[in-house]
């Protein structure tokens, strides 16, 4: 098990280097000039050139890359070329709403989708099963902004149970914070519940047709025991994989939902930084994302060992 963890950790190193290089090249080779954006509407070319020199954008690409690598390896992501705030601080400001929204969404999604998926598989072919399949197709297909606006109209504008927009930090009280995230979390849960329910149902159907389930039944095991003891544990690997990747996607930012509900999360930070060509922020955010993704993948891999003894061996 220990060597498995060490191997997985070592494999992260080349991935990180590839990510760093790709992020740098994508930004610097792509179109767009932060100096022109910073200079504003009626700036002269001389003014733009001055800004370019100040940001060291006039240096050779290799030199810029080496400076960038040196800074990143010392965990110095630099400062936003606009506000001058440290990139680390800007990212930290956005982590709380993003992480809370992701947790809230996944909690709702898991609580709804796994029991539904298991139940639908257990009752495969019945009206309940078909209803679940149709509901999950709808949940997966309807754009999140449609669901978001519909929820806002009903629960915020008509019933006034929740705020229309904005995020209240945890420092202002847990309940208020959770209240401000309820509509966005429910919006996203439509999508992720649908996905998880379908995966759970499909996996459970597969497991229920396995020989060891038939053996358990032949030995006289009750339905509940067959389902919980023999079947449920064996759907763990694919379901946890989907939960992990979904969670990573949520942490990476859900731009449309963040925009509809005005949640100042990582997604909006990323999009704003890309549109403004704020290179240090984009680099910082993408590197953070890549580490989060690598970390989650590692946890998912490690969790396989819990569900499958063959991995532990």
């Amino acid at each position: 098990m220990q060597s498995f963890i060490i191997k997985r950790l070592l494999s992260v190193i080349p991935v990180v280097f590839i990510v760093l290089t790709t992020v740098f090249l994508l930004l610097h080779i792509g179109p767009g000039d932060p100096a022109a954006l910073i200079a504003g509407e009626n700036a002269s070319r001389t003014q733009i050139e001055e800004i370019r020199q100040r940001l060291m954008l006039d240096r050779p690409l290799l030199e810029q890359f080496l400076i960038y690598l040196r800074n990143v390896t010392s965990l110095n992501f630099g400062e936003s070329v606009y506000s001058g705030f440290p990139v680390g601080m800007l990212i930290l400001q956005r982590v709380e709403p993003t992480a809370l929204l992701a947790l809230y969404t996944m909690t709702i999604s898991v609580l709804i989708s796994i029991p539904m998926g298991v139940w639908a598989a257990w009752r495969a072919g019945t009206t309940l099963d078909r209803t679940l399949v149709i509901a999950s197709v709808i949940g997966f297909s309807v754009p999140v902004f449609v669901i978001g606006y519909a929820l806002v109209d009903l629960f915020a504008l008509r019933l006034r149970w929740f705020p229309v927009q904005g995020y209240k930090p945890l420092s202002g009280g847990f309940l208020a914070s959770v209240t401000s995230l309820t509509l966005p979390a429910v919006t996203l849960a439509f999508l992720f519940s649908a996905l998880l329910a379908r995966i759970t149902r499909a996996t459970m159907l597969e497991v229920l047709s396995e020989d060891y389930i038939r053996t358990a039944r032949a030995k006289g095991a009750r339905n509940g025991r067959v389902l919980i003891v023999h079947a449920l544990k064996n759907i763990g690997v694919p379901v946890v994989t989907v939960i992990g990747t979904s969670f990573a996607a949520l942490l990476g930012g859900v731009v449309i939902t963040e925009s509809v509900f005005n949640i100042p999360g990582m997604g909006r930070l990323t999009v704003d930084a890309i549109l403004n060509r704020d290179y240090p922020v984009v680099q910082g955010v993408l590197i953070t994302f890549s580490f989060v993704l690598i970390g989650i993948n590692l946890l998912v891999d490690l969790s396989y060992a819990l569900f499958d003894p063959r991995v532990r061996q």
């Binding site: 910073i38 009626n42 001055e50 606006y149 229309v164 927009q165 925009s259 549109l275």
Partner: protein, 554 residues
């Protein structure tokens, strides 16, 4: 810290309403009732916890755009400029007739030869850190401004000396009479002359200001880019006695705190206003106005001073627009009515078909030489293209599609140009790419361009000295680089004119020449709509978003 206040908690007794609602939701079901009771208690506790925040009057507003940087000389960004007016005061300020009036200046005199000016600051002016505003700060602020602003540069060219007489008085000596000096010191936009402490004013433009200590009626409370920019009333600020008029007169802070919330999605902003989470909304989408008509506690109106105008910009340095007749054919192919109708539908009360390149309603309005772009004529456009020998070279049009305004206007533009005989190569890009690409005056094959569309506020367009298109200054001109000696001479005549009549005469010549060589094509003037709660009053009509003098009834 920024504190979000749910609307339920800002209204007396509404927390109790939530509780009642939650209890009714539970009905007779025991389990649901238990949950409902929890919600009701939580709602009451939640609101009780915010009681402190309610003690102060807080104006929460949403305006278009975000504040990504905060140095008023580093960018022409309008949101930053608007907030800068709260943080920093100005020596002079434009009144509703666009005439410079003393603001921080208490008294001033001009010598008979018009070359020596003496100014004295008003009594009691303080920076937000409690330090008095002195001439050292004023001179440092003027010197910084003169390196960036176009009118400041003109003043610098004529400056013999600028020296302190004492802590509150200073003298400016010029080498020739220059009637634009006071207008410069009271510059409304791009770039206003804000008075900062000397240590801030010594910061090179482009470097981050070490802090944001200001001289204005509000001081910085909180700034989180992409989230909120909040200011608090500066208690020691001494406003002028005169009533407010545009940016001039008394800047009286009538609320304790102003929070400018960044809400990127227009409909979310409208919903926030409808639910009462914000008090004032600028840049409301026109198709959402109908939603406000049924709300008794909301009002809305168009910003009456000048508004904004749309412009088509042509690159004079590259074919085919290096040919004046091809440029004039563009004028013939376009119609302001189509652009305005696309933008605003049937709300013709919110736009104006305007012949003036210095804005209708502005002090230099004229319709001279506007016939070509006021009368769409595709046949005449085609005939002129033939006369010009246009060989069908594609027009490389930079078409940003990440903004609805640009996407819609561009679609109309492309269709009109094709109808007028042009071959158009529309490059669908994002706005940031357009900004960077348009500074390239090389051939299209080397990343250049032929045409783009943009919009400027009336505050910039209304005056030949701030209108970016009319200098005719070749390499030094705004992108498009029109190069014309006659236009340069007209512009200089305006610069040196010492009476309003002389300025008007020069402005007419500038418009005549500018339209002749087609420095740009004006595509209509429109007025942004602001909506607000009926409890909010005291808004000042201005091309700038002004937030002093605004009151909020409890």
């Amino acid at each position: 810290m920024y504190t979000y206040i749910p609307i339920e908690c800002t209204r007396r007794g509404v927390a109790a309403a939530i509780a009642r609602r939650a209890l009714s939701w539970g009905g007779r079901n025991v389990e649901l009732n238990t949950i409902a009771k929890s919600i009701s208690v939580a709602a009451l506790l939640s609101c009780a916890g915010l009681g402190v925040a309610q003690a102060d009057s807080v104006l929460v507003l949403r305006d278009v755009g975000d504040i990504q940087q905060m140095d008023p000389l580093a960018s022409t960004n309008y949101p930053m400029r608007d907030m800068s007016y709260l943080l920093w005061d100005t020596l002079f300020a434009m009144d509703e007739n666009f005439e410079a009036q003393p603001q921080m200046v208490g008294a001033y005199s001009v010598s008979d030869d018009g070359m020596t000016y003496e100014f004295t600051l008003r009594d009691g002016l303080l920076f937000h850190d409690g330090a008095p505003v002195t001439t050292v700060d004023v001179i440092a602020s003027i010197e910084r401004w003169m390196t960036k602003d176009s009118l400041g540069l003109q003043i610098a060219q004529r400056l013999v000396s600028m020296e302190a007489i004492d802590d509150s008085s200073w003298r400016i000596v010029l080498n020739e009479p220059f009637g634009q000096l006071l207008n410069g010191l009271g510059r409304m936009t791009a770039y206003p002359l804000f008075i900062m402490p000397e240590r801030l004013a010594k910061t090179p433009i482009g470097e981050k200001l070490p802090d944001l200590i200001g001289s204005g009626p509000f001081k910085l409370a909180e700034w989180r880019p992409g989230v909120v920019f909040a200011v608090e009333k500066f208690q020691e600020y001494v406003p002028r006695d005169e009533p407010p008029s545009n940016l001039a007169g008394g800047k009286v802070a009538k609320v304790d705190r102003i929070e400018r919330a960044t809400i990127p999605d227009d409909m979310s902003a409208v919903n926030a206003l409808l639910s009462g989470e914000i008090d004032l909304l600028k840049g409301i989408p026109y198709d959402a106005l109908a939603l406000l008509d049924t709300e008794d506690n909301l009002e809305y109106g168009a910003r009456p001073l000048l508004g904004q105008s749309i412009q088509i910009v042509l690159n004079h340095t590259q074919p085919p627009f290096d040919n004046i007749k091809v440029r004039q054919a563009v004028q013939l192919a376009l119609s302001q009515q189509d652009f305005m109708a696309t933008l605003l539908g049937d709300r013709d009360d919110l736009y104006e078909i305007c012949a003036a390149i210095f804005m209708c309603g502005g002090p230099f309005e004229t319709d001279v030489n506007s016939e070509r772009y006021m009368n769409e004529n595709f046949e005449a456009s085609k005939a002129l293209l033939e006369e010009a020998g246009y060989d069908g070279t594609p027009i490389t049009y930079l078409h940003p599609v990440d903004q609805q305004f640009q996407r819609d206007m561009g679609t109309v533009l492309i269709d009109k140009l094709r109808s007028g005989g042009f071959v158009v190569d529309a490059r669908q890009i994002d706005l940031a790419t357009m900004f960077s690409r348009r500074s390239n005056n090389g051939p299209v094959s080397e990343g250049g361009w032929n045409m783009f569309l943009t919009a400027f506020g009336g505050d910039a367009m209304m005056d030949p000295l701030t209108n970016p298109y009319v200098s005719g200054a070749c390499e030094e001109a705004f992108v498009g680089w029109p190069c014309d000696e006659e236009l340069q001479a007209n512009w200089r005549e305006f610069l040196l004119a010492d009476t309003n009549d002389a300025r008007m005469a020069a402005a007419v010549k500038i418009q005549d020449r500018s339209n002749e060589i087609v420095t740009f094509v004006p595509m209509g003037q429109y007025f942004g709509v602001t909506a607000w709660k009926t409890s909010v009053s005291g808004q000042i009509d201005s091309p700038v978003s002004v937030y002093w003098n605004i009151e909020k009834a409890e």
